[in-house]
Amino acid sequence: MSARDDILAALRVGAANRRASASASDPVLPARATGDAIALRDRFVEMARFAGASVGSAVAAGIPAAISAYLSKERLGDRVVLAPEPALVSLPWRSAPRLEVRTGVPGPEDRVSVTAAIAGAAETGSLLVSSGSRTANAAHVLCETHIAVLPAGDIVGGYEAALSRLRGDGGAMPRAATFITGPSRTADIEKTPQIGVHGPKRLHILLVNE
């Protein structure tokens, strides 16, 4: 008998005892994950800020200027590495002449990474990002500053709705789908909350207004 056979055989015995008293149940969606588009957008912004992210917004044509202004305000230099998503690459980067934009995978010298988010879950102000053929998954977590661009129309109420957006009709999952909520943090040193241990020290969310 293989280990697999042994384990499954033992489980069949144990599980059988519990079947009578177990039942499926409907999902419980907290009130926070419900509301109309305006309410969800406001809640997303409020919860994202509560989690330590900063949130701004602009129309698509204004995103490069908004990024330039953010870097300037936070004194983060002029260079960004941009994930090679068509929606990002096609933005009018020339409208932000001070920015040096490199498209590709973040390297050790890159301090600011700009990627696209697939959805935002208002219940906790969480972004859903994904690995893919164009964006390196590491681009969402490698750099000290992460700027995530999210169309405001892609803000939904709860995690399940966000995942539905990701999976689409085919239902396939990418290799990695990550809900990002605020910057990287730890409390391992004397339970003192600290930011930026391995992932970004700063998460800036730029909502794209329709």
Partner: protein
């Protein structure tokens, strides 16, 4: 490493005498209580979320065999491989073999209590592979050659000075005069040191917070983001997971997500909540080429069939530890077990046998705080009591006060003997106590008077006085 030669009472005594530990535990528990209160006021539906999480976990346990088979099919469909291991030894051998097949020299790890349970790191070292813990708390413990003292906050027992000393000793390539006096400096050094290790590692080893049968995905939650670097940067990703972690659907996984961080740290959700499904696709920009899930039984299938099966619902949030007053007095290392606190008091004997940890189910006042906060309503005091029943019946397990308890029960069942016996005992105590109010030392109850004065009885039995007063109604 902690000395395993000393028994629980000795370890507890040493812990009680440690002021650094005491201060750390007071901070942990006081802040956790405060933060949890704030969390509850932000989430009025928390009880409904708990009920849903419990139901989801129960449903999964009731179909564990079918769900694991479905999980395996879907992992394979995404291009991954599933390995089944009956015990710790098979699991260590499997992971070591996979690392060797990947020509691994270093393996970066994200936090996995299961990998502690199977003693994986030692096996890797023996095989010439260097494991590097990347969770900051686990990394610090690795430097100090210590084990975790809390499921979620493994280094909570340490202060910044001890952490600085560990860095100074181990990061010998840095300027010995550098300032490590504050948490920011420690963090910056850890980030820089470990960044290099992430980038150079051949293999990434994670645990998993859940296995999702519907999609063949694993759930990984961290605040640091280290797991996302561990499962993305190296060429091979190995997830080592207990079989009881399986869930039916993504929606069920979200039910667990909604209570996990809220219970563990009183946050809304961890900074990073990831679903990994298979290795990198052929056209993917980054990610491992090989994805392995190592399923570990190590006593769980046997537990499922027994009286402690409800404890398999545990989602490893650590809330029971963060509130338990016994844990709050002695800390995690005193338990001398991978899992400490209330869940450890059940899992350790349930998985490894009562003789391995006879004190753990006994060292509880049954205050019930643990069950009160458990997000999946594991009935911890009832399970500990059931373990006490097993202990009571076993002559090989020494149970303090077994004979005294049996004598008391014997007397309580015989009111005709109990009354005169009580009269005598009370008279003796009053004689010993005279008018002082309390007795300082009583040889036959030194367990009480060792730490407390014993109040002298008022005198006489209430039942007898009541009947002597004529107040009992005539029938």
């Amino acid at each position: 490493m902690n000395s395993a030669a000393r028994g629980f009472p000795e370890r507890a005594a040493a812990a009680l005498a440690d002021p650094v530990l005491g201060a750390a535990l007071d901070k942990l528990q006081g802040e956790f209580r405060r933060d949890r209160g704030a969390m509850l006021s932000r989430m009025p539906e928390f009880e409904a979320l708990r009920d849903r999480a419990m139901t989801v976990r129960n449903y999964a346990l009731a179909d564990m065999d079918g769900l694991l088979e479905q999980f395996e099919r879907n992992v394979i469909a995404t291009g991954g491989t599933v390995h089944w291991c009956r015990d710790a030894e098979e699991a260590r051998a499997t992971v070591t073999r996979l690392c060797r097949e990947a020509d691994a020299k270093t393996a970066v790890k994200s936090k996995s209590m299961l990998s502690e349970e199977i003693a994986l790191n030692d096996a890797l070292v023996d095989a010439g592979i260097e494991p590097v813990e990347t969770d900051l708390g686990e990394y610090i413990l690795q430097l100090r050659r210590e084990t975790p003292s809390h499921i979620v906050m493994p280094a909570i027992h340490l202060n910044a000075g001890q952490i600085g000393d560990a860095f100074r000793k181990s990061h010998s390539d840095r300027d010995s005069g550098r300032d490590l006096s504050n948490a920011d400096a420690l963090l910056a050094e850890a980030r820089a040191t470990l960044r290099r290790r992430f980038l150079d590692a051949d293999v990434g080893i994670t645990g998993a917070n859940a296995l999702i049968a519907e999609t063949g995905s694993i759930l990984l939650v961290t605040n640091e983001g280290n797991a996302d670097l561990v499962h993305t940067l190296p060429k091979t990703h190995i997830a080592v997971v207990g079989i009881e972690k399986v869930l039916p659907t993504l929606s069920d996984a979200m039910a667990v997500v909604r209570v996990l961080a809220r219970s563990a740290t009183a946050q809304e959700i961890t900074s990073y909540t990831t679903l990994v499904s298979g290795p990198a696709r052929t056209d993917e920009a980054d990610g491992p080429r090989a994805f392995h899930v190592v399923l570990v039984d190590n006593g769980r299938s046997k537990m499922l069939a027994g009286p402690y099966a409800d404890a398999l619902r545990c989602i490893r949030c650590g809330a029971c530890q963060s509130l338990c007053p016994v844990y709050g007095a002695i800390g995690g290392h005193a338990y001398d077990a991978v899992y400490a606190g209330p869940i450890g008091a059940v899992l350790t004997p349930a998985l490894g046998g009562l003789e391995r940890a006879p004190h753990l189910p006994q060292a509880s006042s049954f205050c019930g705080q643990c069950e009160d906060v458990c997000p999946v309503r594991v009935p911890l005091p009832a399970l500990m009591r059931r373990l006490r029943e097993d202990s009571f019946r076993r002559p090989d397990i020494a149970v303090a006060g077994r004979r005294l308890t049996r004598f008391w029960s014997w007397a309580a069942r015989r009111p005709a003997l109990y009354r005169p016996g009580l009269r005598l005992g009370l008279a003796m105590l009053r004689l010993l106590g005279a008018h002082r109010g309390a007795i300082r030392s009583l040889p036959f109850i030194s367990g009480w008077t060792g730490a407390r004065d014993f109040p002298v009885p008022e005198g006489g039995s209430f039942v007898e006085k009541w009947h002597a007063s004529g107040r009992e109604p005539k029938r």
